[in-house]
Amino acid sequence: MLDAFEIVPNLPVLVVTTPLIGGILTIAMGRGKGPWAWATLITGVVFYFTVLLMQQVLAAKTGFISYELGNWPRQWGIEYRVDALNAFILLTVAGVGFVTTLYAQKSVEKEIPQDRHNFFYAVWVLAICGLLGITVTGDAFNVYVLLEISSLTVYALIAMGKDMNRQALTASLRYLILGSVGASFILLGIGYLMMVTGTLNMEDMHDRLAALPDIVHHRTVLVAFAFLLCGLGLKMALFPLHMWLPKAYTYAPSAVSALLSATATKVGIYMAFRFLFTIFGVGFSFVAMPANLVLSVAACAGILVTGVTAVRQTNLKRMLAYSSVGQLGYIVAGFSLANVHGVAGSVVHIFNHAVMKGGMFMAAGAIMYRLGRCDLRSIRGLGKRMPLTMAAFVAGGLGLVGFPLTAGFISKWYLVQGALEAPHMWPVAAVVLVGSLLAVAYTWRVVEAAYFQEPEGESALVTEAPLSMVAPMWILIGASVYFGVSATFTGEISMRAAKSLLGGAP
């Protein structure tokens, strides 16, 4: 049946067009459960497509699939190019997107008025469409357009939290302004690159930049590099450009926080991979330019500062938001090492952090669902009242710490190995370990409140969250444990992605 519709040869573009058209149609799905069911169907189909795409990439002899839109040769048209790295990120985004859509139903019912559900799920699916599009495309300007599709929908999704707390509106506007400035910097950087190379295709850009004589003193290339680094830093919430993130994740609807923490900033990091490694190349970004120094210092400072801030938080969602900035620091520190283990650790942590933090935000959302808030005082004694939810939170927290047999351990193993292999980079390894201790501290505060204190007020009466919330939560947490025990698949894929990024030819 797949062959009859020519689905397999067109997979790269179907991953984007299915949610694009499906998302718009969501508006017409009525007021009841229709929009949710439709969004689940679309994200499920897209997830299936990304699984097929992964199989295709693994089977491809060249290691990548190239798809030219409308059969225009890549010099003129847009090329979608999927290799081990994007296939893996696509799988992560679509997979987590599907599971969070399953989770969203009850949470959204509670947090967003009924008459806006169809619009909510429409922007939800379009946000996933934009994120997948950024990941699949091989054209620099197409990245910008899809980046804005995902950003605009994300602003709307965050603002939907206004019925719970009006600060969602200011959080969303703050993110809109900083996000637009960041995206504009990226647009400028792309413009300067086009000025030098005369092309928008990433591979062609790389080839023509490599052919330039004395690229290190080429002022236009340097300006492009600087603008792109700033813009990407804003988009991936690299410390100290992360100011928009904590408020946005705290006041967004719970399902949106889970989706964003798992996918949005991760795709920002994927863009950094493409621009720094694929377009500029390791030789320029990390040897000729001091990007490794800038990025690793910012990342390490981020791990420490946001770790300390997270320990001081009393709102669970805000604690998780600060912890996310710190975890993004690990990912950035990993690839700034520019060696195989560092980059592989960073790729694998994109996936591992997505499942862990997604699951933890779902747990916080389940507490919100039952209690209407999720601060340290209201979760007292919840270990007995909501055992599955709290256990999921703690299992995710152990992952953040990097406890053996969780996925976080695998990431940190690679990262520390990479840091010790790189010359003079051992402080990164030290920071990774100190960051883990900070994660112990903020996870412990939750454990202490939930398991060692007596419930008070309404917390003493609550029951476990509904199955439709607990099951998706445990799918993600289960995945983080499964891939912590058996890391063959994620490890091999990320090693392969790291080698192709560092080798230049994808």
Partner: protein, 152 residues
Amino acid sequence: MTGALGIYNYWIYVVLMMIGLYGVIAKPNLIKQAIALGLFQTGIFLYYISMAVIDGGTAPVWTTILDGAQKYEGPYDNPLPHVLILTAIVVSVSVLAVALALIINIKRTYGTIEYDEIEAMDQADKRADYQRGQVTDAADDVEHKLEGHHHA
């Protein structure tokens, strides 16, 4: 014209962009911030359009099709940046639309569009929550402030 003045388009683009960036950072009025953001993005459009210009180039239009007469063989400007900027303009209009929608909602719920006033109201909300025993966030800060207040 030659030298730095010969590329005066680029100077204008940089100046426009910097005015926009200043407005985004320094103005507490949300509408002014949205205007500044628009200015910032318009600067970038000017940059792209300037990039497309070729000395002595004309509009990239196929004249033979229009009048059937002799075809113009001379140089023409690069149409690709023009097309890209058409897309970017649409994006920028959408960003502005979303920003204005948010500002309208902010005005409805807060009754003001001055950022510092909104910030003060959020702080007051936190303090009220704390006194009702509902610690929502940043409780430590509020706690310190309240304690300081009692001592004073």
